[in-house]
Amino acid sequence: MDPIIILQAGVATGTVLLFATIGEIFSERAGVLNLGVEGMMLIGAMSAFSVTISTGNPWLGVLVAMIFAGLISQIHAFITITLQADQVVSGLALTFLGTGISLVLGEGLSKAGTVSLLPNFSIPLLYRIPFIGPIFFENQSIMVYIGYLMIPLAWNYINRTRPGLHLRAVGEYPSAADALGINVFRMRYLYVFVGGMLAGLAGATISLAVAPGWFSELTTAGQGWIAIGLVIFAQWDPVRAAVGSYAFGALRRLILDIQGPLTLFGFDNPFYYNPYWGFFLQMLPYAFTVIVLVIGSREAIRKRLGAPAALGNPYIRGERGL
């Protein structure tokens, strides 16, 4: 149980959550709550794995995963933006739909064999930094490095650019944005698509890099829902999303590793001698998600922060309200 190995693997596992969480942040910042993340991730994982098996090219797999998940997200966009239906129910439906479609199209994939995975490499010089180097820059998947780049890019886009300002306006005060000539409907479709593509990327990261393979619903095992929880903890901020994602990634890895050694801190390892205590360890990521939500909600009240004001509400032109 080497802490460096746990953290190193945690960063890799956390990258999945990072992509999904940042994707959901974009969608929610535009005012659309999309509870379909889990379904879109499964679509992404399934299609990335399937395409890579038949073509041998993992990058093609990633591309198809992002496009397919993005297209599926547009069903949610159409139902909630154009048809103005409830975003909660529609998002749930999207998860059912994505899960079902990926199970049907992924039939037989679990026995399909191995695929050529996305490359792993170390960053020259940086990987020699003590402690930090081996955790973040040594022999990581290229997806992990893409994740590093995405955090500042997403933060900068949302907070420091003109289109980012429009994005926030559409989520906070759509009628004002509309009056300024921003096309609220088109923007919302666009960012739901972005969210879908990133969820697809998260799925592809699982099946082609972090835990290669297709294991039906267990491929994601609720990570899409954890990502939605992390968005609230992150207060819709990509940097905080990264902190939460990597912490959850490390936790998942810790749960696997803690059951290995004979002794723990000089004592007999209870999880080694009572293997079924491991089920309590398996609960931890889900229990922590609830705790993280409590912390996030309390903080939101204290700091008077909160969700984008128009989150969850359809925009109807000419109607009073936001």
């Binding site: 048809l83 749930l92 998860t95 039939e107 079924y276 939500l293 000419g318």
Partner: protein
């Protein structure tokens, strides 16, 4: 308002526009039913297309579903067995959804109800030779209590800390599976298998085949008393929602929380209460499945997604308890027949497509579509 202009559709008719207008009057009573049926038919067509794309034969799949679920009295009985847990979870969802509390945790509450009922036998709280008339009520009570507890947690977190109940109930689903696994792998495992020993017969809900000696026609029919409990529960839920003061409060909170607050209704208290009642119903469903069908504690037949199917059924029935009974039977048929269909994800996918089509079709209840020829403008 949304306006869409279609392109030129021929020189004769000229261009026309599709115009959407909000409905100002209530549509006739048959209209919502027709829209729902239309949505389901559309969903089956779309599902068939996906089946065909993945190399299957949609007509054979659907014919198989119909035959394998309503073909003879034996499979009709099996359909009712499958419908029973769905009925309970759908009732559980309907009461929470009525208050716009998105309890997605009927699955976990169902599992915990099954656990509670099993604990009565396995702990054991009651000795194996206890007569059935004590055994079964105590198991029902234990199932209800565990389900209510599993509903209380997200209800309390929502009322006290404003924690999103969708995520907390979902997380509790995963936790409940690990919890049951701990008991059947470790404590109650039968000879190292991942299941508990079989329960004594006195803890089984009566089944139709128990009466086959006096009525030979009932031989082999596994429909159990859980169905009656479910129908009774549906009636109680109907009374509660439509005929009680509390039900009125719940509906008011769901329709207009602001008005409810001004009327002095305690929303926090009702949040917790509704989540507990919802959890109790799902927990009762878990008890009925354990005591009526599985007869031992085991994860796979209990965590089979009944809680999630219940969400769709509740929505499809527009949260009305009576309609829920009918829709549960249809979905019981889908699940029963779906077990043998390849690929195995088909029933889940069809459920997803049905839900998507239903939500989309709600639009037709709020808007009317008018097609206007160019030139006859307004």
């Amino acid at each position: 308002m949304i306006e869409k202009t279609s392109p030129q559709s021929g020189p004769r008719t000229g261009s026309f526009r599709i115009k959407l207008e909000p409905r100002l009057q209530e549509p006739p009573r048959w209209y919502p039913v027709a829209v729902s049926v239309g949505a389901i038919i559309l969903a089956l067509i779309l599902g068939g297309i996906v089946i065909a794309l993945s190399g299957g034969d949609p007509f054979r799949s659907y014919a198989h579903i119909a035959r394998a679920s309503f073909g003879n009295i034996g499979v009709i009985s099996d359909t009712l067995v499958k419908a029973t847990p769905i009925l309970m979870t759908a009732l559980a969802c309907s009461i929470a959804f009525r208050m716009k509390l998105w309890n997605i945790g009927a699955e976990g509450q169902f599992i915990m109800g099954a656990f509670g009922a099993s604990a009565v036998v396995l702990a054991p709280l009651l000795p194996a030779e206890t007569p059935a008339w004590i055994f079964i009520p105590v198991m029902m009570l234990a199932g209800i209590l565990m389900g209510a507890l599993w509903g209380f947690i997200p209800g309390f977190l929502k009322a006290r800390f404003n924690v999103n109940e969708i995520i907390s109930t979902l997380m509790l689903n995963y936790i409940s599976i690990s919890w049951v696994n701990y008991w059947i792998f470790g404590v109650w495992s039968e000879g190292g298998f991942q299941m508990s020993p079989r329960f004594p017969k006195t803890s089984w809900l009566p089944r139709l085949l128990d009466y086959a000696e006096s009525f030979p026609i009932l031989r082999g029919l596994t429909t159990h008393a859980g169905l009656l409990i479910g129908i009774l529960a549906a009636f109680v839920v109907w009374l509660l929602i439509y005929r009680s003061r509390w039900g009125y409060e719940i509906r008011l909170i769901g329709d207009n929380p602001q008005a409810a607050r001004y009327a002095g209704i305690d929303i926090s208290r009702n949040t917790i209460l509704v989540m507990m009642v919802s959890g109790a119903l799902a927990g009762l469903g878990g008890m009925s499945e354990i005591s009526g069908v599985v007869h031992r504690l085991q994860t796979s037949p209990i965590a089979a997604g009944y809680g999630f199917t219940g969400i769709i059924v509740a929505w499809l029935a527009k949260l009305h308890p009576g309609v829920i009974i009918v829709v549960s039977v249809l979905f019981g048929a889908l699940l029963l027949a779906g077990r043998e269909i390849q690929p195995s994800g088909v029933p889940k996918m069809i459920q997803g497509i049905i839900l998507v089509c239903l939500i989309a079709s709600d639009f037709l209840l709020r808007y009317r579509i008018r097609i206007i020829r160019a030139g006859t403008e307004e």
